[in-house]
Symmetry: C2
Subunit: 384 residues, 2 copies
């Protein structure tokens, strides 16, 4: 029949620059407020500059080359990617100086790493297992270029990383492998990111980073001082830089923020260091009952690991959002007057930004009520 | 630099037909066992034929034209789509006779519906609000064709649907609107789908369908008998057809099954009526500790609303899977001997199939250990 579906990236393109275009988006739509996004990027850049620490933002949060370029323009030294597929997509979109923060292990992944290294500028990858050194060396040599390697330390999360007492030997092995360049250490205390008690977060973060400093000191004694000490995240941004262990910070979610990260500060009666720039816009598609209505954004439209979204605009104060199955959301209202009408457009703060962004092909960039751009999420779905 | 990222759909294409190719997939990968999928499709077709009921499978589960075509070949009368974007993508891929099961309300959506109706064969859409009849009529007339309309009933879920006592008037309004054809009724008792107590599921499903029968009888008295009575789902497949109310069944998840649907039967000591055909394949990327290892599939690789995945292959009996953040999974083992090695390939039953499939661009089709095809998930991410 020749029918062509308009791609997700283009379905709202005709609304760019049209007055009131934001309210007319096909929904559910991922929306970013550009002024807030830029303030967050500038604020993190200043925070790092003031602390004398470099910023290597984690691209796993946004998976979007357009945002990476704004971060670079604000002084980022490079980027982190969580997955090889993510690094491939962002390299293809012109992003360079990527540190791949997860170990690359499988043969097919090593072959892809080699191909990527041949093309990418400033690529680095972590390693946490001695048996992978020779394989990474072979991948580097096959690429025709050296490959930067960072030793990943386990400082308590037990997710990836080598035990600190075995790390120096691994670094020495990397340095001795033809084709590999030992660049430094990575450590991520992810288990501390969302601790609501600020004092506990500080004490534990300091102890975790002290393990990293111990490895650095041992390597310095062995004449292999790490060039970079990479780690930290949005949840410990007000703590980690002061300890003087990290040379670069890896935060990612700060560009967007979400309900979960906001809680880290608000539950301790503090103001979050960044503002919320990311929203999911949704439309009321059924409103037959007085205190309940149904939207078009359910659990396929939000990451659901951190509870329901928070209504930001479009409903009265007694309204709360709940997941109403895969395809729909529900808005339950204590007061009937707070219930949005059929066709009303609502805006939600997402519970957890990174995996929510991963559900969308496009970021709709708005200034006030105007849609000003649509950015592709180039690395969406590239978890492999 | 000219680097091109291999698209997700093609990253494993070189493995098609290669012996042992299944174990070499770039992971995380969505995998379907073709023989099981075909048995599920045949089994549901036979079940419906035996009960004298038509089958209109819900495509929201697989979002994949290749699977829709297998269902059609097994006798499906058409398909359901949850979202307009899904219907657009599947129509473009050659799928016809789609019933859009969610109300279309927003102006931009009505314009897209009109464009789709002009091209699609046998399109139908639900309505649950009297104020939408004129707008749907205008969309139909703008498309140059009539549009089939099904009145959506609320039989207790309160998600979408008009109250049964107002439904007949809505059907009459539809029938009187130029451009619209009243086709029948839809009702979905989603709140009953996962009830573990089979007797309770039967009693409540019967009562819910009795409401639908009441509207049918009223419409018959008013000389507007519904042509189709559409509803039901995988969770009530062994119950609903027997009541003689539905003329067609809407189940979707039966093609794949998942941990949650399997529990509906296994918790009642019954055998699920369908087999599990869908898996997420993942690789161990870190294994530094004796009873714990880390995989490359975290909460961006599974829907997380129904608990953790279940390990099907690759780890010993004391192993269990947990979400280890956005990017990784953890496998915790009571016995060290059960812990998979670095690089081991694991296979997981997904907790909830529909939103998990929505995370992937490609379905890797396997027969035994061989990758035999890669199917695009054409409607992935098209929740708008």
């Amino acid at each position: 029949m020749g029918f062509q579906a308009i791609p997700a990236l283009d379905v709202n393109r005709h609304l760019i620059g049209v007055p009131g275009g934001r309210a007319a988006l096909a929904t559910p739509a991922l929306v970013v407020e550009l002024d807030v996004l830029k303030r967050n990027i500038a604020s993190m850049a200043k925070r790092c500059a003031d602390a004398g620490i470099a910023l290597r933002p984690h691209a796993k949060s946004h998976k979007c080359a357009s945002i990476a370029k704004l971060q670079r323009a604000a002084g980022a030294v490079g980027f982190c990617c969580a997955k090889l597929g993510e690094a491939e997509a962002l390299t293809a979109a012109g992003v360079s100086d990527i540190l791949l923060t997860s170990p690359v292990v499988a043969d097919q992944a090593l072959a892809r790493l080699s191909r990527l290294n041949a093309a990418a500028e400033g690529l680095m990858v972590v390693v946490d297992a001695p048996e992978m050194v020779a394989k990474l060396g072979a991948a580097a040599r096959a690429s025709g270029k050296t490959l930067g390697v960072v030793v990943d330390l386990d400082i308590g999360l037990h997710r990836t990383g080598i035990a600190p007492d075995r790390a120096a030997d691994l670094a020495v092995a990397v340095a001795g492998e033809e084709g590999l360049i030992f660049e430094g250490l990575q450590a991520y205390a992810g288990h501390l990111m969302h601790l609501g008690d600020a004092a506990e977060r500080a004490t534990k973060s300091k102890a975790a980073l002290a393990m990293m400093a111990g490895v650095r000191d041992e390597l310095t004694r062995r004449n292999l001082p790490p060039k970079i000490m990479s780690g930290g995240g949005t949840g410990t941004v007000d703590i980690d830089p002061a300890f003087g262990v990290l040379t670069e910070l890896q935060g990612g979610s700060y560009v967007f923020m979400d309900r979960e990260y906001n809680d880290v500060w608000t539950k301790a009666d503090a103001k979050p260091p960044f503002e919320t720039s990311l929203f999911v816009q949704t439309t009321v598609i059924s409103a037959a009952l007085p205190q309940l209505c149904t939207t078009d954004a359910g659990l396929k439209s939000f990451a659901t690991d951190a509870g329901p979204p928070v209504l930001a605009k479009g409903a009265g104060p007694s309204a709360s959002y709940f997941f109403f199955g895969d395809e729909q959301g529900g808005v339950l209202c204590g007061e009937a007057a707070d219930r949005p009408a059929l066709g009303a457009v609502l805006s939600c703060v997402v519970p957890h930004c990174d995996p929510t962004v991963n559900l969308y092909d496009a970021i709709h960039v708005v200034e006030g009520d105007t849609l000003v751009d649509i950015w592709p999420v180039e690395a969406r779905g590239r978890g492999f």
